[in-house]
Symmetry: C2
């Protein structure tokens, strides 16, 4: 086994690690994209980091839901939690095997494993009464009304593009398998976990774990797991090299480094929109406020350089 | 944590643990069936066994393939290996959560985790040149010819019921994640692994792990994993209480106990047909020949009694 430097990192891979908008979405391309996205991850492993890898599942779970819909009456309906669990299996396998092959090729002796992850949420989370996360296909207003009645869905208008199902995206509280993940990580195993944000579960009136039709933000789930396993660093890999103030405007400014209080201030001032950098920054802030030492937000290509302080945006405690 | 007796068991749950032919195949029923099927497993856990749980995925992977087929052109085609990995996630979650709830209700302090499992096969396995395992739906002869040409499928006539795709069912050699599974099991964690027989992989000419369109018998995969983790006992849970000679005939005889050599003899004489008890007996024989101490084949209901020697069929070394 490689010499470990003792530090633990949680690396959250954005959806574009696996499905890229500019390439046809086939499984062969998903494997190819995954292999390429692992460059930065491999650098960190070679630097001796203990590691959890999490990943998004947006396009994959969207396709899973679409397949379930197109097979109604011919194959059992899968609830959203099972679709998420399925993607944890399929995508975990893809990332695991790609990483195993890379590590072997570079003579790095570290094991990799994929752990199916349930994430606890609060049944009284306001999102569960008032869901806001769009998933799946677009429908006509008539279909929307029918599915609300027949399937109990909540369907809302998504801008001017049509009607879509919305599901809750509640705040993650803890990862059920965190103790096991922690012991694996401490032994040097690289653990793929909380894929797609994890399978949302709550504790019912009898004290049982029970699934719920919801999705969890994968960066927030990664921050929560990071705290549970005492990770020093959370690395969020996405399609941009750095976080910007006034993104896309004339006075756009790239941030190299900021404290958590500064980022909270920028967030309040609207610099990080809900549909893009907002959720990542929320996760970054939560991780630092919960005791984390450092968050890096950068692109797949820059992960290794970012860790040496030569790229990316670094968020630090005050 | 409960007092462990030091013994390790691999328990292979048959497909009917989760999907029962006499009930509508909904996820709610799959959860209900799973909960009921765990009675015997829970007895073994309470007796202090360290444990791996494996499971079939026949109906589930059949439905996954059907959904992929019905969504052609609208969602990416998933290769068989990804479908198997998906079911390891979804079914693992279902079994894991059901077991966690049962253990909590009975105040048994044992952790449960689902590990996505790749299973190594030999690319030169004769099955890969000459596949024999039927999967998915029935087709007309015209469709069969078209899919052979367009999709490179091997399609064969399944008795008088129509044409079906056949895939290889190669011999499992080893489970890639076995070391990790072993260390988890030794620490008392109950590990759900090699679901559906595991994801078949081979080593390509560059030395990389690579998926292959195939399926692996879950009882054989369980026997192989059992050897790798030094399990003393393999328990195969199915729909019958015991193994029979002359099954279904007038001179039908139930077997309480037999040596591996006796069973090999019965197998040669045709007592265990390929479509039912044959694969289970092959797995049992392989497990004992590889150094295992005991195999029990029985029904879900009788698992606990069988371990006390009061039910089921026991296969022992010579």
């Amino acid at each position: 086994m490689a010499d470990l430097n003792g530090k633990t990192a949680v690396i959250a891979l954005g959806g574009n690690a696996i499905t890229r908008p500019d390439r046809e979405d086939t499984i062969a391309n998903q494997f190819a994209n995954t292999r390429k996205s692992l460059d930065g991850v491999v650098e960190l492993i070679k630097a001796g980091y203990k590691m959890v890898i999490s990943h998004g599942n947006g396009p994959q779970v969207g396709n899973a839901i679409l397949r379930v819909e197109l097979s109604r009456g011919k194959a059992p309906i899968l609830p959203l939690g099972i679709c998420v669990a399925d993607t944890e299996g399929g995508m975990g396998y893809m990332i695991e095997q790609s990483l195993q092959n890379r590590l072997r090729a570079e003579s790095v002796d570290r094991k990799v494993v994929t752990v199916i992850s349930q994430v606890l949420v609060d049944y009284d989370d306001p999102q569960i009464q008032n869901p806001t996360k769009y998933i799946g296909q677009f429908y006509t207003e008539e279909e929307a009304a029918r599915f609300t009645k027949e399937r109990g869905w909540v369907v809302k208008k998504d801008a001017n593009r049509g009607w879509r199902r919305v599901v809750p995206s509640p705040q993650p509280i803890s990862v059920i398998e965190a103790d096991i993940i922690k012991s694996l990580v401490e032994s040097g195993t690289i653990v793929i976990a909380v894929g797609g944000g994890g399978i949302p579960v709550y504790i019912d009136e009898k004290g049982n774990l029970e699934g719920i039709d919801a999705v969890i933000d994968k960066d927030l789930a990664s921050a929560v797991l990071g705290k549970q396993i005492s990770s020093e660093i959370l690395i969020i890999l996405t399609s941009v090299d750095k976080v910007a103030l006034n993104y896309g405007e004339k006075n756009e400014t790239w941030i190299d480094q900021a404290t958590v209080s500064e980022m909270e201030d920028y967030l309040r001032k609207g610099h990080f929109p809900p549909g893009s950098m907002g959720p990542k920054m929320n996760a970054a802030i939560q991780f630092i406020r919960d005791g984390g030492k450092q968050v890096i937000i950068t692109s797949f290509e820059n992960a290794g350089r970012a860790l040496k302080g030569k790229a990316g945006t670094r968020i630090l405690p005050d």
